[in-house]
Assembly symmetry: C2
Homo-oligomer: 412 residues x 2
C-alpha cells in the first residue's frame, strides 16, 4: 500500500478510538471553528478554486461539471452555514437504542457508537469535502477523503483550513484528504479492510458501480435514483399534476427526481394534455397509448432503465396498480416511488407491496432527503438494504454496541 | 452464470416479493410443517446422513468434522424443536421502528421489512441447513444455501423434506439448496449482486476471509472470536475464577469462548495458582510474569492473535486497565470482552473505551448468543460494524423502509 495512504489510514484508526468517547461540546467546538475558518479564509478558497477552474477550462470539462467545481462567495457562506447547522443537532453517540433485562439478572444496553473510519470517494465537488468532514465529526467518525482530481487545489485549501480550525479540539488524524491522484490509490482504499469500517462512493453511476463491484471493505451504495410516480384511477388529477411537476421539474439533476410516470388507463386521456403543457421543456418518451394522445417519442426498454437526471421523462399507461407495481419492481433502483390516489386501499397495496427505501402516498418523491426527513443533514441516500436505507443522517452514520452488566453470571 | 444457480436465484428474488407481505400465520404454519416433517422423516435423514458419514470416513476427515457432520435421532429432534421454537417469537416484519411527523404534514413511518434474499455459505454441518431456512422463513427472507460438499446427501434430504412441508404455504423459490459442488459456484454466488441482498459466510476463519475478500454482494461477517477476560485489581477473585472457567472451559470450540486472560499486576500472584489448578487440562501460554508463577509456555505475538477454539489460553499481566484496553484493541476481533471488577468507574472506562460488539462487566463472554440475549435464535454473531453487531436475531435479519403519507405536499 502507498505509504502516505497507510499513514493516513493508521492515523484515522487511532483517532477513531478517541472519537468514541469525545464530548459533544468538543465536537461542536470543532464544527464552530470550521464554520468560522471557512469564512475567515474565503479569499484563500477562492484563489485555490480559481486555479482548479482555470485548469478545468483548459481541459474542456462540461458546463455541468464546471458548475459543480465552482465555489463563489455565496457558496462558501452556505457551506459555512451548513457546518454550523450541525451544532444544534443531537449527538447520536451514546444514545440508548434498547434495554433488555434478562431473567438471570443480566442487564443488556444497546448504545449507539460511531462507525469508526469512513472512506469516501467522490467527484469534483469541493463542497462535498466540507459537508462530509462535518457530518463525520458530529457523528464521532473519522474519514479519509478522495475527491475528484479536478478539485484537488480547492480540496487541499479546504482541508488545510479545517485541520487548522480543529487542531487541539479533536484528535489528530480524524480528517484527511488523499492528495495522490494515481488511479491505484482508489483501488488500495477500497481494499483497506484493516483500516476502514465502510466505504461510500458519492457520485455518478459509473463511480458507484466501480466501487460496488470491486471493494472488499463494506460499502454503502447511495444515490442511484430511477424513481416512479404512479397516477391512479382514483387520483386527484390536479394534485397529481402539481406533484409530477415538482418531482420532475423542480430539480431534475438530483436522485430523488422521477424518471417515469405511470398512469392508470382510465385517466390518461384527461391527464396527459395538461401534463404535456406543463412539461413544455421536457422530452417525453411514451408508450403507444401515450403517443396517441400527446407528442412523444416511442419509449423502449432502455428508456425505462435509464436515470436521466435531466429534462426527460418516460410515460407509460398501465391497466391497474398491479401493473404499476410490476413495472416498478422491474426498473426501480429502490430509491423512491409515489402513488397519487384517494383510495387508501390502493395506496396501502402500493406501499406494502413495493420494496423501495421511500414510498410516498400523495406527495412528491423530492422529499427523500435528510433535511426533509428531519435528520438535519445527510451523507447520501442509501439504495441498498444492508445497514440503512434512504437518507443517511447522523444516526444512520453510526453503529451500535451492547454493554452488559452482570454480578457474576456464568452460562449453564 | 451456472443456469441452475441462476434459476434458483431468480426464483428466490420472485418469492421475496411475496414474502414481504406474507401473513405471520402462514410463516408459522410453514415452520410447524417443517418441524413435523423432520420428525416424520427421521429415518430418511439418518439414511442420507449414513451415506455422507461413510464417505467422510473413507476420506479420512477429522473427528471434530465427523462429529459436526453427524445427525442422530436426538439431534434431529433438537432440530425439529428449534424450528418449532421460532413460532412463538414475534414476527419482526411490519414492526414500526419510528414515526416522524413533519411540520409540512408529511407522516413518515419507518417499518421493518425483510432483507430479501440471503446467500449462505457454510461448512459440513447439516443442522445449519434447517436452522437458517427456518430463521429466514420467520423473518420473511428467502435463502439460497451452499453447504459443505461432505454433507450434500444429508442436505438434499433435509431440503426435500422442508420443501415438501412448506409447499402451498409459502411461495415457491423461498428456500433452495445449491447441489453443485464445483468451486466456481461459490464464486458466482458471492458476485450475484443482481439477485442477492446479502451473503453470510458461516464457518471457519478461512471461509469467512475468502468471502469477505472476494464478494461484491454485501457481506455480514460473523463468528471470528478472539475474546478477552480482564481481571482487574478490584476484582472479586473467586467470581473471576468462576467466570474464567465458564468462558474458557464450558465450550471452548465456540466463538464466544475466551482466548486470552489479562490480569492486573496487583492480583496475578494470588489469582494464577487457583486458575492453573482449575485449568488442569488447558495448555497455557504466558508472559514473563505468568511463567514465573505457574507452569506455562512463553507467549508470542502470534499466540495473542490466534483463535484457538480449544483448551488453550493466553495469560498476560498488565499494569492497569489502560494496558488491558490497549492489548484488546490490538488483538480483538471485536466480538466479546469482559472485565471483572468491583470498581464501577473502571468498568465504565473499559466498557466505553472498547469497541467490541458485546462488552461485559462481571459476567461471562459466553452470553453473546441470540438465545441468551432473548432474541430466541440467531443467524450468527456479527463482528462487523455495518448493519448489525453481536447476535443476529430475527430483527437484525431484516431491513426497513419508509412509508410516507401526504396530502399533496410538494417541495419548495
Amino acid at each position: 500500500m502507498n505509504a502516505q495512504l497507510e499513514n493516513q489510514l493508521r492515523a484515522a484508526k487511532m483517532a477513531a478510538r478517541e472519537m468514541m468517547t469525545l464530548d459533544t461540546t468538543d465536537k461542536n467546538n470543532a464544527l464552530q471553528a470550521i464554520s468560522e475558518g471557512l469564512l475567515a479564509h474565503k479569499q484563500d478558497i477562492l484563489d485555490a478554486n480559481a486555479i482548479d477552474l482555470k485548469k478545468a477550462k483548459e481541459n474542456g470539462i462540461t458546463d455541468a461539471m464546471y458548475d459543480r467545481l465552482t465555489l463563489d462567495e455565496k457558496r462558501i457562506e452556505a457551506l459555512s452555514a451548513s457546518v454550523k447547522s450541525l451544532i444544534d443537532l443531537p449527538d447520536p453517540v451514546g444514545e440508548v437504542i434498547r434495554e433488555i433485562d434478562r431473567p438471570n439478572g443480566l442487564k443488556i444496553v444497546q448504545v449507539r457508537v460511531p462507525m469508526g473510519v469512513y472512506g469516501i470517494i467522490y467527484e469534483a465537488r469541493p463542497n462535498v469535502t466540507v459537508d462530509i468532514a462535518a457530518l463525520c465529526l458530529k457523528s464521532g467518525n473519522c474519514c479519509v477523503l478522495k475527491g475528484g482530481k479536478e478539485a484537488i487545489t480547492t480540496n487541499k485549501a479546504l482541508m488545510h483550513i479545517m485541520l487548522e480550525a480543529i487542531a487541539g479540539i479533536v484528535p489528530e488524524g480524524v480528517l484527511s484528504l488523499i492528495e495522490n491522484n494515481d488511479h491505484e490509490i482508489v483501488d488500495e482504499l477500497i481494499h483497506a479492510n484493516d483500516y476502514l469500517d465502510v466505504v461510500v462512493p458519492r457520485g455518478g453511476a459509473g463511480l458507484i458501480q466501480f466501487v460496488v463491484k470491486n471493494a472488499t471493505v463494506p460499502v454503502i451504495e447511495t444515490g442511484a435514483g430511477i424513481c416512479h410516480l404512479y397516477v391512479d384511477k382514483d387520483a386527484d388529477l390536479s394534485m397529481a399534476l402539481e406533484i409530477a411537476k415538482n418531482a420532475k421539474l423542480q430539480r431534475p439533476s438530483v436522485c430523488n427526481a422521477i424518471e417515469t410516470i405511470l398512469i392508470h388507463k382510465n385517466v390518461y386521456e384527461d391527464f396527459l394534455p395538461p401534463l404535456r403543457a406543463a412539461f413544455s421543456k421536457v422530452k417525453i418518451y411514451g408508450d403507444e397509448r401515450t403517443c396517441e394522445v400527446i407528442k412523444a417519442e416511442e419509449a423502449t426498454e432502455r428508456n425505462y432503465a435509464t436515470e436521466y437526471d435531466d429534462y426527460i421523462v418516460n410515460i407509460k399507461i398501465v391497466d391497474d396498480v398491479n401493473e404499476a407495481i410490476d413495472h416498478i419492481y422491474k426498473y426501480s433502483t429502490k430509491h423512491s416511488e409515489s402513488i397519487i390516489t384517494n383510495n387508501q386501499a390502493t395506496a396501502d397495496l402500493f406501499m406494502n407491496a413495493l420494496d423501495s427505501a421511500c414510498i410516498y402516498h400523495n406527495a412528491s418523491t423530492r422529499f427523500s432527503d435528510g433535511g426533509e426527513f428531519g435528520f438535519g443533514a445527510e451523507l447520501g441516500i442509501s439504495t441498498q438494504k444492508l445497514h440503512a436505507r434512504g437518507p443517511l443522517g447522523l444516526r444512520e452514520m453510526c453503529s451500535f454496541k451492547y454493554k452488559i452488566e452482570g454480578n457474576g453470571q456464568i452460562r449453564e
